[in-house]
């Protein structure tokens, strides 16, 4: 019997010819990414256990993003601590304000993500990097500390669910709509302890940005990783970001065993919206139309990339957002911000009545830069609409694509983007 892409990566990283789902392996980690919120506890653990040096400073990348620019004194102290620790450990890959960005957008953009590698970060949306055919998963701070110390981490080899996406993508439907649909089919725990491999003609035609949106939200179905087999689109992105051609490409064998195969034809899909308070609570936009909003947020590791900003700008160009709506746009990285500026997208947003901020995770997790008050409602291009996710436990978050967010901002209520495209 053959092996899945994920099984092959885990086997190669634990010195094995083959691994079987369910077994525990101790795998080598190629890249450890650290952000501001979960790294300080890891540093404290290393100190507590007397571990003086990290296993390899060059394999560690530090990208503070959640509460940056520092939202308060405690957050400032955390980043200060990490900055000092990085210096002491001789970790050169530190992305300070001015070069910064949301780690899951910045890591591939800066050329750290390669097919066939293992990547961990103390952040659940690390699944994003599976878009490049890597094994990338979110962990806690103790896992982070263990990997920083040893360069290895234990994993239970997951079974893989194959999600095959076919058909012709209708206008107004984007990767975000498709992944929300997949989550509604799987449920928020449908892939717990499992890998999700996305395949099919729709995925094959997607840009890397769209593939990252897909894999980013694999965790919202409980997935350990979300992966896509590398192809010419992947290689083209890697060439553009200056990645050396020294990686290994793994593909699932034709006779690989999948725990489940889910087929989705998107030809008849409409844009969708995830209602509060679960990402799986997905309905067609037609069922959401008319729900009044107070805030519209465009950004995050899910949908804060250039492709997302371009689509939203297309919708907003020459139009005004509703008087009562606060629209916040946050390009995911400094480079994205600069390119969006060169293309005039930021001006389009400001002219429409939105505001544009510096890269940060900020509002997505109710951190800062756009917190909701009780009774307020936000349509958001982010990944979670849990109770209190963006602020007050009495606020509501509706998840949607950048186009739907922009269209809703114009109408002041949830709107179908197709009329503006």
């Amino acid at each position: 019997m053959g092996a899945t892409l994920v099984e092959k990566i885990l086997a190669a990283h634990s010195g094995r010819d083959k691994v079987t789902p369910g077994e525990i392996v101790n795998a080598d980690i190629d890249i450890i990414m650290c952000h501001d919120v979960t790294t300080t506890p890891a540093i404290e653990l290393l100190e507590k256990y007397g571990i003086k040096r990290v296993f390899d400073p060059d394999r560690i990348v530090i990208m503070p993003d959640h509460f940056v620019p520092n939202k308060d004194i405690k957050a400032a102290e955390m980043v200060k601590r990490i900055r000092e620790w990085a210096k002491e450990q001789n970790i050169k890959n530190f992305y300070e304000i001015g070069r910064h960005g949301i780690c899951h957008a910045l890591l591939p953009e800066q050329g750290y993500v390669k097919p066939g590698t293992t990547i961990i970060c103390g952040d659940s949306h690390t699944t994003t990097h599976g878009a490049f055919g890597a094994f990338a998963t979110g962990v806690g701070s103790t896992d982070l500390a263990a990997a920083l110390a040893t360069g290895k981490l234990w994993f239970k080899v997951p079974e893989t669910i194959l999600v095959e996406i076919k058909g012709k993508v209708p206008d107004g439907v984007y990767a975000k709509d498709i992944i929300l649909k997949v989550i509604s089919i799987l449920g928020v725990d449908g892939a717990t302890y499992k890998a999700i491999e996305f395949t099919g003609e729709v995925v094959e035609q997607m840009s890397m940005e769209s593939r990252m949106t897909m894999c980013n939200m694999a965790i919202e179905a409980g997935g350990k990783v979300g992966v896509i087999e590398p192809d010419e689109i992947t290689f083209d992105y890697l060439r553009r970001t200056g990645v050396e051609d020294d990686f290994t490409i793994y593909r699932s064998d034709d006779d690989a065993r999948f725990s489940d195969v889910i087929k989705l034809d998107v030809s008849e899909m409409e844009p969708v919206v995830a209602f509060p308070h679960l990402p799986s609570n997905v309905k067609n936009v037609s069922e959401a139309e008319g729900i009044r909003i107070d805030q519209a947020f465009l950004g995050s590791c899910t949908n804060g990339r250039l492709e997302d900003l371009r689509v939203a700008a297309e919708v907003l160009k020459g139009r005004r957002i509703a008087e009562h709506v606060r629209m916040i746009v946050i390009p995911a990285t400094t480079e994205i911000w600069k390119q969006a500026d060169r293309e005039g997208l930021l001006y389009t947003f400001m002219e429409a009545g939105a505001t544009v901020s510096t890269p940060t995770c900020g509002p997505c997790l109710g951190g800062h830069m756009g917190i909701l008050a009780s009774g307020e409602r936000c349509i958001s291009s982010t990944n979670r609409n849990f109770v209190g996710r963006m602020g007050s436990p009495e606020s509501e978050v509706y998840l949607a694509s950048p186009a739907t967010v922009a269209a809703s901002a114009i109408d002041g209520k949830i709107a179908d983007p197709r009329k503006y495209l």
């Binding site: 103790t142 896992d143 263990a146 928020v188 725990d189 717990t192 209190g388």
Partner: protein, 162 residues
Amino acid sequence: MKGRAIVYERNHINTDEIIPARYLNMDNEKDLAPHAMEDLDLSFQEKVKWGSILVAGENFGCGSSREHAVWALRGAGIKAVVCESFARIFYRNCINNGFLAIECEGITKYVKNGDEVELDLERGEFRNINAGKTLKFHPLPKFAIEIIEAGGLMSYIVRGSV
């Protein structure tokens, strides 16, 4: 291990509810504890005074990978979490902290808030002393028991077990 149960029948209780992100600028158990479950149940802090075993539905701890969720619960006085099922990262974080996370099917139907309950790890049994009922649970994987017995993943590694 004996204690009183604090029960949330709901499924998909996420880490944003267990410890909201506005408190992630802290990582000390003592600082996090007063905010445990704040967005889910404001009376949790009262209940935790009389209870020490948290019981909940499916997919407990889904969402963000923040280990602060484990620290907040432990800091508040919770000794073990017994659920229908767990989300993966939270479950990992429990094991890595040497904190007991037990999967027990049907648990929410057999326990009420305030019931006196007992966890027997050797036999893999959950007893509701008030109701006089016993439920079997899936024993923890061997690897997980070794880590928990070592006092967590870091102790396990320092001992050279991995």
